[in-house]
């Protein structure tokens, strides 16, 4: 039988680039298969996606070598629009792909282009919205949907063309844990249908367990193309390739198990752990809890005090209701919750972007409403999620000096602060570079540096790791942890649960405008049922520890407390 997709010797270099994005890629995907493509930023994953439906070579400018065949047809021949019937492509940036005034019209756009009859179109809209669980949303405006719903709508709008192959480019990057799950449930169902071939680019390893095969790309080349479970057990390969290995697998790998025996999921892990007769040392676990306690004692005086805070938006929506929270100097606080829970609304009160409609917010003992944003910005720095929403200068140092300049500091002082901020984020000596030529991870650092240059006492980071690969996420969080050790108070808003587990000290869970849980990360993550209710899932290693009765936060911690191995 003809493969669904056949890629032979594919190479591609974008115009104006020195290095090729893809080089000598061979790949075959059989009909009905579920293949996951993984790899670090810049490995060529997205380039591969756009090669599959003819956007390369027809839309992009550059040099293509080799050949891509989709169900027998070479992408060199024919137009992109014609391939849409064979292969559906959903892009990472789901916001930019939705343009209709309601959900039904969004889904109908594809079939309209192929002159599908009105009755058939209606049938498809209904059936596809059912598949992505958006029944009843037909008349809603796409802009009013949550992130997960938008991504599901983007998938539906492609499914309505009834392609035989579906390619999703990082479909879960921007979503909260439950939004991610919703997308993967759809993938799961599609996988069970023999007539749909699924190709998913993904960087979250926990989501790839159901795949048939995993292809790992590195620097434009395929470095592994094997059965999913085999690749997932190859901890060293994944680490070398800048992909986060499964935590449970890494734990058993570090405990010295042979590769073929490595368990993958928390359930498999718990079973293996017990079978081997390993135990958790109560004494050493006690040490971990004591260390948490000691750290909590060490915090300074309260710096942010929130009392009975409510916020109602002009359209009447009550985003926050009766929130009480105290943040002390030196804390590393994570604010968790699903999209729309109110967590971003909460932190926007800390630097005065929003004013309370009820209750008070005090920073440094004084109400925010008395201070004004310029002065508040001196004590509370806010790094927005998308660095491209703030970068505007021609050089990195101009960008970083914006805060000090606007506060009318002197030349020497500005220079000192810029140098200090750049070295804090690991960009020393790169002040003269053009920020738009940097990678996303580096631009994120520039954004952090530009806030640090004002030397705020509190640093708020909104989704600091979204859109970064594993290595970039690690180095970003190492940076944040260093700043915390140097005395900054840190508040992160994030969906990335392992980041919270490994780096934050305290976690607050916001649900429907109220604080649901608050405590040390260890306490909060041990309450798995309540987290589920708030649409959150702790990372695998935490689940494993919980099921053994001892909450741990990282692989290293579990290694430290395990006895008998």
């Amino acid at each position: 039988m003809e493969p669904a997709v056949s890629v032979q010797g594919l190479g591609y270099r974008y115009r104006g680039q020195q290095k090729p994005a893809l080089e000598g890629v061979d790949l075959e995907v059989a009909e009905g298969e579920f293949v996951v493509v993984m790899g670090p930023s810049g490995a060529g994953k997205s380039t591969l996606c756009v090669s599959l439906n003819g956007l390369i070579p027809h839309f992009f400018r550059g040099r293509m070598e080799g050949e891509v065949r989709v169900r027998g047809h070479s992408t060199r021949e024919g137009r992109v629009g014609e391939f849409a019937r064979e292969i559906g492509l959903v892009f990472q940036d789901f916001e930019a792909q939705l343009f209709s005034t309601n959900v039904a019209l969004e889904v109908a756009f594809g079939p309209e282009n192929f002159a599908v009859e009105r009755d058939e179109m209606e049938r498809r809209v209904n059936s596809v919205l059912g598949q992505v669980r958006l029944e009843g949303f037909e008349d809603r405006q796409p802009a009013t949907l949550s992130g997960g719903q938008k991504q599901r709508l983007a998938i539906a709008s492609v499914l309505a063309i009834e392609p035989r192959i579906l390619c999703l480019d990082e479909p879960t990057t921007d979503l909260d844990p439950v939004g991610k799950l919703g997308v993967f449930e759809i993938a799961e169902e599609l996988k069970n249908r023999d007539d749909v071939t699924l190709i998913v680019v993904e960087h979250e390893t926990e989501e790839t367990l159901d795949a048939d095969r995993i292809v790992v790309l590195r620097e434009g080349r395929v470095v592994a193309d094997r059965a999913a479970r085999e690749v997932l057990r190859d901890v060293e390969l994944l680490e070398e390739s800048g992909v986060m290995p499964l935590q449970v697998t890494r734990f058993f790998h570090e405990m010295g198990l042979w590769q073929g025996q490595l368990p993958l999921t928390p359930e498999e892990g718990a079973q293996e752990f017990r079978q081997r007769g390993w135990r958790i040392s109560q004494e050493r676990h006690r040490e971990l809890v004591d260390e948490d306690e000691e750290r909590t004692q060490g915090y300074g005086e309260p710096i942010i005090e929130v009392g009975g805070l409510s916020h109602r938006y002009p359209n009447g929506f009550a985003a926050l209701e009766g929130v009480d929270l105290t943040v002390r100097k030196g804390e590393f606080l994570a604010i968790l919750g699903q999209n729309g829970s109110g967590k971003t609304t909460l932190v926007k009160h800390f630097n005065g972007l929003l004013k309370p409609t009820g209750g008070t917010v005090k920073v440094g003992g004084e109400e925010t409403t008395e201070q004004g944003m310029l002065r508040l910005g001196q004590s509370v720095g806010y790094v927005f999620q998308n660095p491209d929403h703030q970068i505007f200068s021609d050089t990195v140092s101009d960008e970083v000096s914006f805060g000090p300049r606007i506060r009318e500091m002197e030349g020497a002082e500005i220079k000192e602060r810029v140098d200090e901020a750049l070295s804090a984020v690991g960009l020393e000596g790169r002040g003269e570079e053009d920020p738009f030529g940097l990678t996303k991870g580096e631009r994120q650092r520039v954004a952090v540096a530009s806030v640090l240059a004002v030397r705020p006492e509190v640093l708020i980071l909104d989704e600091p790791t979204t859109g970064l690969d594993y290595a970039e996420q690690r180095s970003m969080m190492e940076l944040v942890a260093r700043l915390n050790e140097a005395g900054s108070t840190i508040i992160v808003v994030t969906h990335t649960m392992w980041v919270v587990a490994e780096y934050a000290h305290r976690a607050v869970v916001v649900r429907e405008g109220k604080i649901e849980l608050s405590g040390t990360v260890r306490e909060v993550f041990s309450r798995e049922d309540e987290l589920w209710e708030a649409s959150l899932r702790p990372p695998h290693i935490v689940s494993l520890g919980n099921s053994l009765g001892y909450p741990v936060l990282s692989v290293d911690e579990l290694v430290r407390v395990t006895e008998g191995g």
């Binding site: 930019a96 005034t101 309209e112 009105r118 008349d139 063309i161 944003m373 910005g377 970068i391 505007f392």
Partner: protein
């Protein structure tokens, strides 16, 4: 923040064929432009507002009241100062130039309001269908509606970006005009970069969904000229004809104004 103007309401105006609504819009422009007497302009404005009220769309005016006021006042003041006339009012301002300014202000505001009511009652997709049914190629019709859609999208990106820059201490509200203009650079650059980036994804997504794949195309929305459209069109054509007749007969002009 909801970036789009369309209000999903079930009124008889919403149910009109998009071609009828386009005709009404152009007709409203004609009405606003043929008269010069502020009283007549006021009547046209009142008609447009009544129409908007029936379409349950006047709430959108709250979003643009500042623009309406600013444009209206500016026009009034400018023409009062620049225009000439017969009857001195005070200093070098004449009655006729004030009246003329008032007319032009009403005229501009009326056209803006009519446009807003049109966009509040007509989906982007309907505009496209309407244009196609009038014989305009789909690609061009789609480009027009994309431009309409881009305005609110850019506005909402701009809002996020202004929050990001204000957090860094950008203060847009002080300084003279030149200083203020320079302060908008931190907003404009990211707005351009973000918009260009998302437009790029948008056009790729279009191609990937078969945009322009074949010559023929069907439409999910059902639109047809019905009895209601005929009634509305007839009434409106009579109104237009009567207005033109009035104007030809010499009513609704402004005596004694010299530019």
């Amino acid at each position: 923040m909801d970036p789009s103007l369309y209000l999903d309401r079930d009124t008889w105006v919403h149910r009109l064929d998009p071609r009828t609504k386009m005709f009404l819009l152009i007709g409203a422009f004609v009405l606003a432009f043929i008269f010069l007497d502020p009283l007549y302009e006021l009547v046209v404005l009142a008609l447009v507002l009544i129409f908007g009220y029936m379409a349950k769309s006047l709430e959108n005016l709250r979003r643009i009241w500042f623009i309406l006021l600013a444009v209206g006042l500016l026009t009034l003041v400018l023409w009062s100062l620049v225009g000439g006339g017969r009857t001195p009012l005070f200093l070098f301002v004449e009655l006729e130039s004030v009246l003329y300014g008032l007319s032009i202000a009403l005229r501009i505001d009326t056209t803006i309001i009519a446009g807003v009511i049109f966009l509040s009652t007509t989906r982007n997709e309907e505009v496209a269908i309407g244009l196609v049914k009038l014989g305009i190629p789909y690609r061009f019709a789609f480009a027009v509606t994309t431009a309409l859609r881009l305005v609110p999208t850019i506005a909402s990106t701009g809002f996020t970006i202004s929050q990001a820059q204000r957090s860094r201490g950008l203060d847009l509200d002080s300084g003279n005009i030149l200083q203020r203009t320079r302060k908008y650079v931190p907003l404009l650059v990211p707005v351009f970069v973000t918009t260009i980036r998302s437009t790029n994804v948008f056009s790729m997504a279009l191609e990937s969904k078969g945009f322009g794949a074949g010559g023929k195309r069907t439409f999910y929305l059902r639109t047809a000229l019905g009895g209601r459209d005929v009634v509305v069109l007839v009434v409106f054509v009579v109104l237009l004809a009567a207005s033109v007749a009035l104007r030809v007969a010499g009513y609704g002009t402004l005596e004694g104004f010299s530019g």
